[in-house]
């Protein structure tokens, strides 16, 4: 298993709350990614970063934001959670020549 960690694993939160999903990796990978996955569905890339202070939006429009102040840390923030944000969020990383290493995900439920 890869050394990439996501917290929390499960989060139930009320509408309007601000939340931050944490993702950390200890492999020194420059490239990090956030995917959103609904049950039984494909993964959609919502954010990625190719290094410190570099962040880009992915294919799927998302109201979330990300930051990359340190190589190992790539948190995702929702300023005001809504029920439509209910989903599983997967963080991944890789270096130039490796496939993606995934964390175990955060399953978010917004009530």
């Amino acid at each position: 298993e890869a050394d990439i960690y996501q917290t929390p694993r499960y989060l139930v939160i009320g509408t309007g709350k601000k939340i931050t999903l944490e993702c950390s990796q200890t492999m020194g990978h420059d490239k990090m990614y956030w995917y959103q996955q609904d049950p039984g569905m494909e993964l959609h890339l919502i954010h990625y970063s190719y290094g410190v202070n570099s962040t880009e939006k992915g294919d799927l429009s998302s109201e979330s934001t990300v930051s990359r102040i340190r190589t190992e840390h790539f948190p995702l923030t929702l300023e005001s959670a809504r029920p439509s944000h209910t989903s599983q969020y997967l963080c991944a990383s890789r270096d130039r020549n490796s496939p993606l290493h995934f964390g175990n995900g955060t399953r978010l439920t917004v009530t």
Binding site: G40, E42, L43, L90, L100, G103, N104, G105
Partner: protein, 112 residues
Amino acid sequence: SQQGEEDPQALSIQEGENATMNCSYKTSINNLQWYRQNSGRGLVHLILIRSNEREKHSGRLRVTLDTSKKSSSLLITASRAADTASYFCATYRSGANSKLTFGKGITLSVRP
């Protein structure tokens, strides 16, 4: 539309049987990757095949790639109950907009 599309969507087999899963894609690629996802977990990389390769093996896994048909297959031989999972193909295209694009996945159930 999605670059990688798996077929079938769901597959149920008996332990010991072989499982074959297919993936088709639309544009040229640099490599194709297969991942496995156990319920409630992240994806785990299984195997990568480059566009200039036709077949690759890893343990009980065999992957083929036919770039002329833009398709790939993943064969799991002598399946085990522990192989029960969702399997995703992902295509990678390098360049200015390099990206790894995932299909919807195949749900494999292996009955003991």
